[in-house]
Amino acid sequence: MDISSKPRQVHPPLIDIRDRGGPAQPMLRVRKLFKHFDLKKSFIESLAGGGQVVRAVDGVDFDVFKGETLGVVGESGCGKSTTARLLMHLIEPSGGEIIFDGETVGTPGLSLREYRRQVQLVFQDSYSSLNPRLTIEDSVAFGPQVHGVSRREAIGRARDLLARVGLEPRRFAERYPHELSGGQRQRVNIARALALEPRLVILDEAVSALDKSVEAQVLNLLMDLKDAFGLTYIFISHDLHVVRYISDRVMVMYLGKVAETGPAEDLFERPLHPYTGALLSSMPSMDPDQRTQEAPLTGDPPNPINPPSGCRFHTRCPMAEPVCAEQTPTLASVRGQRKVACLIHEIGSGHSQADAAIYAA
């Protein structure tokens, strides 16, 4: 194994006393998580017939292992950001289970307040996510104060963290958000998320709004912080290059469901789900020899109000057969750590290419 290809330090520097289940216990297990939004309807419309629901997240299963970075990709509207907010309980899940380090979140089990101390979220919009009326040190110090840390101590911690994310406290601590650039504000948001000493940080398109050069700096900062604080990341982005760069494993979502998961390199090299293949082929390549071979994705994703029957991708899938509209594929292990939800990779599914694909694998 080529050691130089993995420059990052994989082990946290200290053993975390909050680590209950040990390294083998996943940090987060998500089971059958779903969220259906009722469309607003008036009294009269409800007389006319049942209301419609948006199936934003529709039964999602995945694990996040300790110390890893799980990348989550998909087109806009696939349920990535809803998943992030569900994980933080910022919106109430319609059903499903979230298990954090072996404990179920919610009563009885891990209290929401304790859970939120260990899991934090960084938002995409650096502007909207900072209170314009608070200095940045007050914004960072807010979380610890909520959890009973004295103001003096919280401000001290905030200044340390600002220094840690590359904002000299003496210059920046008492500034207001509008006096900072987008990249600086996003550093503040990262410091704010870290102020509660979380173990898992969810980064929801955290670098997507930044300029490319700033984006690279913030990505490097994120990787440094991960090693220094022994963090686990869920990294949500629509930018495949960035996800490939930062992730250990990747999860591909389509219309509120998981299409495929697997180790980053393997998944990008050998996509199993036709949707992943299509996504990757739409990715501009640096190498002129590696021209796009597969048909790129056309059109918009279908409406999540009335998602297609069977496999949700069958309306846009180049390999779709009649069976795909009838039978819903299940997310199942294929080989190694790869899991895919596609009838081509299900034995006896009835898809003409099914057996050939499985033998080839």
Binding site: F43, I44, E45
Partner: protein, 317 residues
């Protein structure tokens, strides 16, 4: 669109119920026994009881409310304590006079308000605009009851060309549209028209300026359309909102006429309210306010519905 209208109508029902409830409460927030004003000081307990039962004050609030609403729906608003006549008769006689006054005032206000507003918006930032804007600030700032007094001073006391008070020569005869009667209408209507004039002028100015700044107007000019053509376009686009504002202002004037009617002794609802308040005639007060408030709610509904039908952009599903 049909669904929107239906929803809009259904939405009005709880508002109307709430308005009725507030009117019902008026009698009960008022201190003291409402019968005191008509009872002789030495009235026997027997007589007091009789009157309590007659006016329904001896039953529970809920019962009183339900039966009050039920009777109101049939056009029975109770009996005036002061005159002993049905409240509904008194109110509807007065509503006619107020409606006439408010209607004429709205028309005057709308005409001059639109004119000023249009000119100001068309020649934005010119001296015409500034003058019209100043006039509209004056219009919304002036205490109109005082303006009424000043107009009486000028036209009745000083120039002696218009009558100061009343609604026609020789007391309360029937209204006729001749000069002998109309001259009584001029001062109160002009005074009242100042209220909507300022607001309509502001609205129209903003509308016209907005429309002129839009790209389609630039496009029309580029296509070589004449000023008259552009003028017609602007009018067509500004009309729904301007009409909506006018409708609402009519509602405000109906409810807000009391001060002006008092200054000019105009025999409308305001005048009726005034006497109801000072004679502590609570059924009359309640009935008048109920009718005026319901008028306002229905007018609101009507304006919304008209605006929806007039403006093709409003596609509320």
């Amino acid at each position: 669109m049909f669904l929107y209208l239906l929803r809009r109508v259904i939405y009005t029902l709880p508002i109307m119920l709430g308005v009725a409830f507030l009117c019902f409460l008026l009698v009960h927030i008022s201190p003291g026994d409402p019968l005191v004003s008509i009872l002789p000081p030495d009235a026997s307990i027997e007589l007091q009881r009789q009157l309590m039962t007659l006016y329904g004050f001896d039953r529970s609030y809920f019962e009183q409310f339900v039966s009050w609403i039920w009777r109101a729906l049939q056009g029975d608003l109770g009996t005036s304590i002061a005159t002993g006549r049905p409240v509904a008769d008194e109110v509807f006689r007065a509503v006619g006079n107020t409606l006439m006054l408010a209607g004429v005032a709205t028309l005057i206000g709308f005409f001059f308000g639109s004119l000023f507003g249009f000119v100001a918006g068309y020649f934005r930032d010119s001296w015409v605009d500034r003058a019209a804007s100043a006039l509209s600030v004056l219009g919304v700032s002036v205490p109109h009851y005082w303006l009424g007094m000043v107009l009486v001073i000028i036209f009745s006391s000083w120039l002696m060309i218009l009558p100061a008070t009343g609604a026609g020569p020789g007391g309360s005869g029937a209204w006729v549209w001749d000069w002998a009667h109309v001259q009584y209408l001029i001062l109160p209507a002009v005074t009242m028209s100042v209220i909507p004039m300022g607001i309509i002028a502001r609205t129209v100015r903003a509308l016209v300026a907005d429309i002129l700044a839009q790209e389609f107007v630039v496009g029309l000019k580029a296509k070589g359309m004449t000023d008259v053509g552009i003028f017609l376009h602007v009018v067509k686009n500004a009309a729904p909102t301007a009409l909506a504002v006018m409708g609402l202002q009519l509602g405000y004037l109906l409810g807000g006429s009391i001060l002006i009617e008092t200054v000019f002794s105009w025999p409308g609802t305001g005048f009726l309210l005034n006497s109801a308040i000072f004679q502590r005639d609570l059924p009359l007060l309640q009935g008048t306010i109920l009718v005026l408030a319901m008028f306002f709610v229905l007018l609101n509904l009507l304006v919304d519905v008209l605006q929806t039908t007039l403006d093709p952009r409003i596609q509320r599903s």
